[in-house]
């Protein structure tokens, strides 16, 4: 850490502290918590882009998939649907689906020529109909159970912290699938394939009600920290808060946010430590060598596609982990709110502005851009209010005031283009 970097971090910390002193500590801690998660996301994307030069446009998909984990792991099980005709049949159908694809892969390897094509077509079409025939009745059974509150498989009822690594594993699985297909071809293809998988993951999460209730959302996912109402009810806490002269309601919300911040910060520090170690190891040097000159690295005997696959999976797993953390923080999964501008392109702005290839840079970018994302909207409203102050009331004024909310897309797009043009190495450049 040079003096300049320390100052940059101090500057961002000051921004958050000023927010706390001028507005409220609750919003400031809210920015800090999402800033911590954003920093983790930026670390993951920085691995893919900064270390290896892989362009992932499907971050949203991996984040959303990771968000599925808290529902599947931590929510209480819905024992009523676990019958032979319901959930068990559904799992069996999914296994059959996987089996069909595995068979197709084996056939594709073993056979050749016309027989291969014919066998593949028969297997895939037959398998698809078999899969649907098994799945559809089971889905009906599961979704018919208490549609207003359940209609899904439920979870395992395990501690929610366990869901975080599981979220990473889910995302890693999806990344393996995409990477296996699109890596090794030209760089744009990975971008387009990730764009596609993100849309599909989201479509599945919105429409398969048996999985996580689709757009009906899952609420009250268990939390790793105590609830505010419980704190307010406990005499020990209210006495403790009164010791500071604080209002117990405010104190309880702040304490809960601080506990989350502690958890997130611990994970962020662990990840930074691990990625700094990895980047400085022979493995990190090999990655950067591959990024800078693939042909030369290949001539030195490095398996470029394999290494790319490895880092693509690692980076995506971190995005999945962050996705599980977001859902835990909100205690709800709302697939309708995942939006590529917020969950894919904003992360890219973080990595590029912060400094691609440098872990500290990505972390700084995560905090700074998240702060801007939150603050540009009120600033835009204020600016528009100022511009339109002299105008008479009318449709134009209303339109301008209404569209101020979209200012942040333009602002962040412009920030990204300016950094790419004039300071392509970012705020904290790669050493």
């Amino acid at each position: 850490m040079t003096l300049r970097n320390t100052l940059l971090f101090a500057f961002v910390a000051a921004l958050i502290v000023i927010e706390g002193m001028t507005a409220s500590w609750n919003t400031a801690l809210g920015i800090l918590n999402m800033g911590l998660i954003s920093a983790i996301l930026a670390l993951g994307v920085n691995m893919q882009w900064g270390y290896a030069g892989l362009f992932n446009v499907g971050i949203m998909g991996f984040v959303a998939l990771g968000g599925l984990a808290p529902v599947l792991i931590a929510t209480p099980p819905v024992t009523e649907v676990w019958t032979a005709g319901g959930a068990f049949r559904l799992l069996f159908a999914l296994l059959v689906g996987v089996g069909v694809i595995a068979l197709a892969i084996v056939l594709n390897r073993r056979l050749a020529g016309r027989t291969r094509i014919a066998a593949l077509i028969v297997t895939l079409i037959g398998g698809f109909f078999l899969f649907r025939a098994l799945l559809d009745p089971a889905v009906e059974v599961v979704e018919a159970f208490r549609p207003a509150t359940h209609s899904n498989l439920g979870g395992l009822g395990l501690p929610v912290l366990l869901a975080w690594p599981v979220g990473g594993l889910l995302a890693a699985g999806a990344a393996w699938l995409v990477g296996k297909t699109a890596l090794g071809l030209r760089s744009d293809y990975l971008a387009i394939a990730t764009l596609g998988i993100a849309e599909i993951i989201l479509a599945v999460m919105k429409n398969e009600d048996w999985l996580a209730r689709g757009v009906k959302n899952v609420i009250s996912i268990p939390r790793p920290v105590p609830y505010e109402v419980d704190l307010q009810a406990s005499a020990a806490f209210t006495d403790w808060a009164a010791g500071f002269g604080a209002d117990p309601v405010t104190a309880s919300t702040i304490v809960v946010k601080l506990l989350y911040a502690g958890l997130f910060a611990a994970i962020l520090l662990l990840l930074i430590w691990a990625s700094e170690l990895a980047l400085k190891s022979p493995w990190g040097r090999m990655m950067r060598a591959i990024r800078d000159n693939e042909t030369a690295a290949e001539a030195m005997g490095k398996d470029v596609t394999r290494r790319h696959l490895q880092i693509f999976i690692l980076g995506s797993a971190i995005c999945g982990l962050a996705g599980a953390m977001i859902v835990t923080l909100d205690s709800q999964l709302t697939p309708g709110t995942y939006n590529p501008l917020r969950f894919t392109f904003l992360i890219w702005v973080m990595v590029i502005v912060g400094g691609s290839g440098n872990n500290w840079g990505a972390v700084l970018g995560g905090f700074l851009i998240w702060y801007l994302w939150i603050k540009v909207e009120p600033w835009g409203h204020a600016l528009m209010g100022f511009i339109t102050a002299g105008m008479s009331d009318g449709p134009l004024k209303t339109h301008l005031l209404d569209s101020a909310a979209h200012m942040r897309l333009m602002t962040l797009g412009a920030v990204m283009l300016l950094v790419l043009r004039f300071s392509p190495r970012g705020l904290i450049p790669e050493r």
């Binding site: 698809f128 744009d188 394939a193 596609g196 283009l417």
Partner: protein
């Protein structure tokens, strides 16, 4: 009679909508493929260029409508289209000048240009929302149908109606005219030939005195024009919603890659392949099957392979299959 009914149902629910959608995708994919061929990167801002251009067209349409200007049975948007195209072309040329030219001169790696196009997309997206909002807008006017379902039933005495919306007819007709004009331009004119030469071999083209900046400018103009036409036709046919245009990016890229990136003919074939697959997989075949099959074989369910929400999965699956087995595309595009 049943057989005729089946054909009419098939035309009504599959062939006509898929042809119109395919024409819209093909026009979009042509733009992507031309940019790829000449500038050598995948333009992620293409979907938002479509949205922004359509936004301009809608503004002009409203203006003309407020002046009482109408185009008879045709939608007013058709008069507004050239104006929208001009504004979009100016905007895109400005973007090239301000953003892309620098990286071209630096000879930056294609992936950098892709990221830059993502930044442009961000700005265009914000601008579209700023100018026209995020609401769903319908801006078609004029005659609604070329063939009306009720009138068709009365005239033929068939149980199935055939509806042919005027926007669908317009889409198909415009696409044919535009594509014919584009191919005439690419094959017959001097500028078009120099574009193809530049796409085939940049160094050789430069040696023979082709001005690269001119080629690039013409490419942007054509691509922007195609994007606005495709976007307006899509908006007339369905409705305008900025976010839908961003989502069109996936089927458009899939079309361009399936046909072979950089190959205009492939983009058209790809567009129709993707459109017909999407509609075919998500259409409930029960109606057609009941007409054609004997009663004992008629399906009980909807006979729908996938819910319509998964139409993107169809383009994606086709894309993956092509990438796995024939990464250069069906019509042999430029590179792997």
């Amino acid at each position: 009679m049943d057989f005729l009914n089946a054909i009419v149902a098939l035309l009504n629910f599959v062939v006509i909508p898929a042809t119109a959608y395919g024409a819209q995708l093909a026009l979009g994919a042509l733009g992507v493929t031309l940019i790829y061929g000449i500038l050598r990167f995948s333009n992620f801002a293409h979907g938002d260029t479509m949205a922004l251009g359509t936004g301009f067209v809608i503004l002009f349409t409203w203006w003309f409508q407020s002046m009482g200007l109408h185009f008879g049975p045709l939608p007013t948007a058709l008069i507004a289209l050239p104006f929208g195209i001009v504004v979009t072309i100016l905007f895109v040329l400005g973007t090239d000048r301000a953003v892309y030219r620098f990286y071209r001169q630096q000879k930056a790696a294609p992936v950098i240009l892709v990221i830059v196009s993502m930044g442009v997309m961000f700005i265009m997206n914000g601008l579209t929302r700023f100018v026209i909002g995020v609401e769903e807008i319908r801006f078609d006017d004029g005659a609604r149908f070329v063939i009306n379902a009720g009138a068709f039933k009365a005239a033929t005495g068939l149980a199935e109606g055939l509806a042919f919306k005027s926007t669908q007819a317009l889409t198909i007709l415009t696409a044919v005219v535009v594509v014919a004009a584009l191919f005439l331009f690419l094959n017959r004119t001097r500028t078009g030939k120099s574009m193809r030469a530049f796409s085939d071999n940049e160094d050789l083209a430069l040696l023979s005195g082709i001005n690269p900046e001119k080629v690039v400018a013409v490419t942007w103009m054509i691509s922007a024009g195609l994007a606005v036409i495709a976007g307006t036709l899509y908006g007339l046919d369905k409705s305008f919603k900025a976010f839908n245009y961003f989502q069109l990016l996936l089927p458009i890229f899939a079309s361009a890659i399936v046909g072979g990136l950089g190959n205009p003919l492939g983009a058209i074939a790809g567009g129709f392949l993707i459109a017909f697959s999407e509609v075919g997989f998500t259409y409930a075949w029960k109606k057609v099957a009941t007409y054609v099959l004997p009663e004992s074989l008629a399906p009980e369910g909807l006979a729908q392979l996938l819910s319509t929400d998964y139409k993107f999965a169809v383009s994606f699956a086709i894309l993956i299959v092509v990438l796995l087995f024939k990464p250069t595309g069906l019509f042999r595009g430029k590179s792997v």
